[in-house]
Structure formats: structure tokens, C-alpha cells
Symmetry: C3
Subunit: 277 residues, 3 copies
């Protein structure tokens, strides 16, 4: 087998144990030439919301046809379905494939890309074993199925077709947009993630502030909308469009999360002046 696609792995397994490595062993046993890339394995344990946001944010930066395998799976061993999806705009050339539990983990990606096809993973021929562990479908089902997909096995061979409408969607606070009396636009969203630097990422798209004067309001603190960290003095808060395209809160030379102590789902408001700069 010489042709292959890239394959990414995301989980809440951490890097201390051997769980991630044995998934890679299962992949290498099928096709050692697959380029395997770790998205992250430090999703907080069983936190589907963080996993969903990481997958949605990373998805656009991988080559056409990349297979994404994700395992944040508190329902492993219960009745939750195991699924694979093809998503994108060209049904003969999917942007990517998604393999994992049907628990909302994928709902960020398919909120942004159309679903081309969806199957439930029922064909045990593509599993590592026809009697998988009750607690580790990552190793026994998801990684092997991903490796077969990345090696050219067609999606429809992996199991029975299912209707995209039946897929589990994680409910997150909806982004709301209003126009105020002074013609300012007010967008209300929420905190979705904080990163290693303490930057706080919202679910408000950076598109809404493009070429506009804007500010952000959180916990009664008003923060100016800027272009990059050094647009404010060291030690000051700023709002900016982060590298994944979302409105973020940052602290130049420091850690905004430590300063503001916000949590997942906390409400933020963006105020946009409707006269081009």
C-alpha cells in the first residue's frame, strides 16, 4: 500500500500513559507509512466541549483528505454509536474524514462544513479485533478504521449509512447579534477555550470586527479591540482576532486568564462601530 493520507489523533488520554502509543501501534500494524500527527491529547478528561472546539479550530489547516480520529468518549461501552463522516464541498474529494464516537465531538466541524456521507462503524473486518475492549475503542475500533480510511478504503465499506440528521450535536450558547439605537452592533457570545499562554478564545467570529472600530465587554470591564499584542503596553489587556479566526482576549506579555479568571461558557459582548475605519 503506497498511497496514503495524513491522519490526526486527538484525545483526553494525556501523554503519561501508553494509550496514545498503542493507538499508533494499531495504525502502524495496518500501514506504517501513514503520517500521524497529534492534535493534542490534553483535552480535559471527558470534556467533549473542549474537544469539539479544538477539532473545529484545527480542521481547516490540514491537507485535503486528512483523516481525523478523536477519542473523548465518556460513553465508551454504552450504546453511543461509533461513526465515520466525510465532510466538505466536493463529494468526490472530501476536505476531511472524521472517525470517533457520536457524542457531539464532531458538531463544531460539521457546523462549518457540509456532511457528504455518514456511516455507523459496524463492519468488524476493519477493527483491530472483532471482540474489542469495552473501555478502549480508540485502540480497537477508531484508530484501525482511521488507518484503513487513510489507506484508501472507501467510507461506505466501514458500516451502514446513517442520516446526518441523527448525529449528536453539542448544544453551546448561541451567538446573538443586535443593533443598538446608536447603530452600534452588539454581539453576545461566550468563552470557549483558554490556551497555554492564557489567551481566552470566544465563539465570536473575527469576521464581524473586520475593518471596524470595536471593543469587548466582559464582567463590566471594557477592553479595546486591537490588531496584535504590541498595540498596547506590556501588562495591559487587549481584544484581538486570534490566529484561529475567533475574537480573543489577551494580555500583552502576560496571562489574561490569570487576570480575569473566566470559565467555559462565561458571557462576553463585542461592540462594533458601524463606520469603516
Amino acid at each position: 500500500m503506497t498511497s496514503h493520507n495524513s491522519l490526526t489523533l486527538l484525545s483526553d488520554f494525556g501523554l503519561t500513559d501508553i494509550y496514545v502509543s498503542v493507538m499508533k501501534g494499531a495504525i502502524a500494524a495496518i500501514n506504517p507509512d501513514i503520517t500521524v500527527i497529534d492534535l493534542t491529547h490534553q483535552i480535559p478528561p471527558q470534556n467533549i466541549a473542549f474537544g469539539r472546539f479544538a477539532l473545529m479550530s484545527a480542521f481547516p489547516y490540514f491537507p485535503m483528505g486528512t483523516v481525523h480520529v478523536a477519542v473523548v468518549d465518556p460513553g465508551v461501552g454504552s450504546q453511543r454509536r461509533a461513526i465515520a463522516l466525510a465532510v466538505g464541498y466536493d463529494s468526490t474529494n472530501p476536505t476531511g474524514f472524521l472517525v470517533g464516537p457520536d457524542n457531539g465531538l464532531w458538531s463544531g466541524v460539521f457546523s462549518q462544513y457540509p456532511i457528504i456521507a455518514a456511516v455507523e462503524l459496524t463492519n468488524r473486518q476493519y477493527w483491530r479485533t472483532s471482540e474489542p475492549s469495552r473501555t478502549f475503542h480508540g485502540r480497537d475500533i477508531f484508530a484501525p478504521v482511521g488507518a484503513h480510511l487513510a489507506s484508501g478504503v472507501p467510507l461506505e465499506q466501514l458500516g451502514e449509512a446513517i442520516s446526518p440528521e441523527t448525529l449528536v450535536t453539542l448544544e453551546i450558547p448561541v451567538v446573538q447579534t443586535e443593533t443598538l439605537e446608536d447603530s452600534t452592533t452588539r454581539i453576545t457570545g461566550s468563552i470557549q477555550a483558554s490556551d497555554h499562554f492564557g489567551n481566552l478564545v470566544t465563539n465570536i467570529s473575527g469576521m464581524v470586527v473586520l475593518n471596524r472600530e470595536w471593543s469587548l465587554l466582559v464582567n463590566k470591564v471594557t477592553i479595546s479591540g486591537k490588531q496584535t499584542y504590541s498595540d498596547v503596553p506590556v501588562g495591559e489587556l487587549l481584544a484581538l482576532v486570534g490566529s484561529h479566526g475567533w475574537v480573543e482576549i489577551a494580555l500583552n506579555g502576560g496571562d489574561a486568564q490569570t487576570r480575569l479568571s473566566l470559565e467555559w461558557g462565561d458571557r462576553v459582548q463585542v461592540l462594533v462601530q458601524n463606520n469603516p475605519r
Copy 2:
């Protein structure tokens, strides 16, 4: 050189420093096409028992002929031997190769798989340098030797044959089995590892509880034997056969280690009813 096997790395080096990366540099300098997989680099510093258990648990999930290089090596620079082993059931097609210090790290794997051949690494032609660092044999001896093995160099060229009986074995508390008066079987073992989720792994094989009613006793607490996490309510302890095939203690939706505070070597007992379910 186009043919190659997969190669795994395990160490206590952590991921903060460049030690792991320069081992990979030494491998790439010999054969950049080897598929290198990290088992884990977060073995507690110099803890051979944890390294032994991780290697034994991960070994079965890799392709035939995979080379495993492991460096938990408190005796580096002393008289401990550097070794390479071939293990498996078919002497012309080993299940895997093991490269590292002769300090007991491999004794879990060779308690489960026969040793086909063993050599002491005395042939400096396959080292990175004939004058290796006194403190970093991982980079200068083990990783290069592993890369040559994974590229097809025969084991016997790496040094002088040694007798498998002379290899260092790590003594761990023996698992003991007794039949009680009521025909219950009592198996006494010990805690061998705790994982990132707080699951506690014992050295009692899951085979002993297959299709039986069973329970586990630790610190005078009795825990029911179950199939998967969701067989008990959230917040309750359960015992189950974990994904590596060992009896484990878990807490549905939580962290069993935080609840029970057990340590490596702590005694556990499994009680099995001898009537099939």
C-alpha cells in the same frame, strides 16, 4: 535503505528537555524513513518498575518486528550491560526486538514472550560514536543500535551472544492463588500502575475473572467486578478488566486513585465465584 520496521521509544526524560529529540536525530541520521513512535517519556525518573510495566503492556499492540528502545537507566556509566533481545515464538520472524540497559526493564516482556536471542552491545560500529557520553547511552548507543536493527542489521552483528539466564529480572510481588473452603478462588496481587484518569492497574490477569462473578478487596473495601464504567452510578467505584488485560479499579466519572490513595506494590485481592455466570 528502503525497508524498515517501526521503532518505539520509552524513557524517563520528560518532554521539556531536548533529550528525546536528539535520540530521534541520531535515528534520522541513520535512516530517516523509520516510523518512530513515542511509547511515553513520562516514566517517573529512574523508576524501572513503571517502565517495565509500560513496556509489557504496550508490547503486544505493535507490528511484527517492531524495535523497542527504552531508557530508564539509573546505572548509566556503571558496569550494567547494554543489551538487545529478539523475542517471540518464531525464531525467523521475531515478534519484537528490545534495546536498552540490562536492569530489569525488559523482564515484564520476557515473562510473557520467549527470548529467541540475546546480545551484549559491544560492537561500536553501530554506535553513534565509539566514545559515547558517560551519561547518555540513549543517544549514543541505544537509539543508533535500534535504528540499525529497524533498518535490517541482524541482531547477532550488534555484539556478543549472552545467555538469557544471565539477564537481570526485576522482582515484583508474586501473584498467589488459593482455593477457599467455600470453593471461592482468592488471587492476591498488587498495584502496578495508575493512569492519567486515576484508574489503578493490578498485576492480576483479567483471564481469571472471565465469565465469572467476582469482586475485589483492597484496604478492607469490597468493590464489585463489572464490565464497563457505566455499569455503576457516577461516583461509585468498580473493578473491571482494563484495556491492557489486567484487573483494574476505576471510579465512574472520577478518579479512583484520588479516592483510594494506593501506592505501587499495595496488596489487592480478587475473589472469584467458581460457578459460571
Copy 3:
């Protein structure tokens, strides 16, 4: 594209977020066959001195022609230049290529290897997008440029040639050497890094103590110069030449940093007896 070199990545991004993975996605989109090796992503945030030392220490262990991409970049989005360098002794066959910000991160490597050529990255054809993020040049400029270099694009096509004299150099405390009245040599240097084991690495080359009796003085404590950890009893401090070639302070079976609590830049002195052992 079948020919390729190895490519290393170093950053202060940590492994919790997806930043590292999307750099790898950008590389795979250009050439999925590049062997990508993580140097480390746990440089303390924005700490150019630690990044510089890690790059200088790891550089010699990679194959000829390896491309090193590093992103410790507090000035991203400001006027600091983006650069690529070729270094080594043979202008037709560079030892390695360096890609990243011009902020001193590379000055350790080019203190040890001559610069063959230097360019400012101005040719947007080799970027991921001609409109890069203001805050994530790693993904949009450095990783793609590195992938093109590793795939055979000549350095001079990446941008305009610049003079090596104009490159930013990080000033670190200079190592000073004196000869004392009793003909002892005293070398004064400083702590440059501490590793995962608590070993403390100085900027004094191990060459100065080769085949000599020596000791190290720090905070009025005198520590004997030895060959390896087990040359002193467990629990005792020793000085030795570490695996990267620098004088280090270690504690046999323990953590020298916890014992001594030294910081980056703290002064250490090595005293060398000038009669061969």
C-alpha cells in the same frame, strides 16, 4: 516530490493547545513525507534565552541538511524580521538550515557554526497565505517556509539576502578565564538551563576540564568534578561534563536544582588544576 530532509520544530506553545499540530498540518499540506521531529515545545513562554540554549545544544545531533524551525516570538506582528539561514562549513552542503524570527534565538547556533547565507523571508509565494495572521507566523510563514526548504527549494528563493552582521544576537554573560597565582585556571560562567532531572547546565565547555582535576564553586559550595553520577554516593552533589558537552551540576539519585535553587544567569566558577591526571 520524493527527496526531503528532516525538519525539527521548537516553540513555547506547550502541548495542550493545537498550535503545534496546525504547524504540522501546514507542513503536511506541502510535503507529507518530511520527517518532522519535535525538539521541545515547552520552552518557558517567550523565553528566548532558553530557546537559544536548546537549539544550540540539539543542533549537532541531526542529519546534514536538517531544517530547524523555531518559534519563540514575543515580537510577532511587530517590525522584527523573519529569517532563514544556512550554516556550516561547506557552502554546497550546509550542516543545517534555521527558520524563525530574528530575535537572538539562533545566536547560539551561529556562535558555533559559520553562516553560509542569510535571507529575510519576503517571498510570500512560500507562505501558507499571502495575508498571514498577525499573531501566528509559525503556522503561516515559518513552518511552510521550512517545509519548502526541506523539499529542496533553494534558500535564496525565499527572500532578499541580508548581511549576517545585521542579525540579532542575544547577549549572555560572557565566560571569563583567569590564571591564578598557584597556576590554577578559574573559569567564570553562568547557569543556562535546568533539565527535567534537576541537572543544572552551565555555559562552560567541558573541553576545559578534559583530563584534569577540577571542582566547581557556586554560592560558596565547592563541588568535586567527576565522570558520572555513580562516582559519588547517592544524595551527594557532583559536577560533570553533561551529555551536551557542558559542565553540569547533578545530584546522584536526586535533583540538584531543588537542592541548590539556582536561576538562569547565576554565576558559577570552575577551578582546574593544570597538571594532567
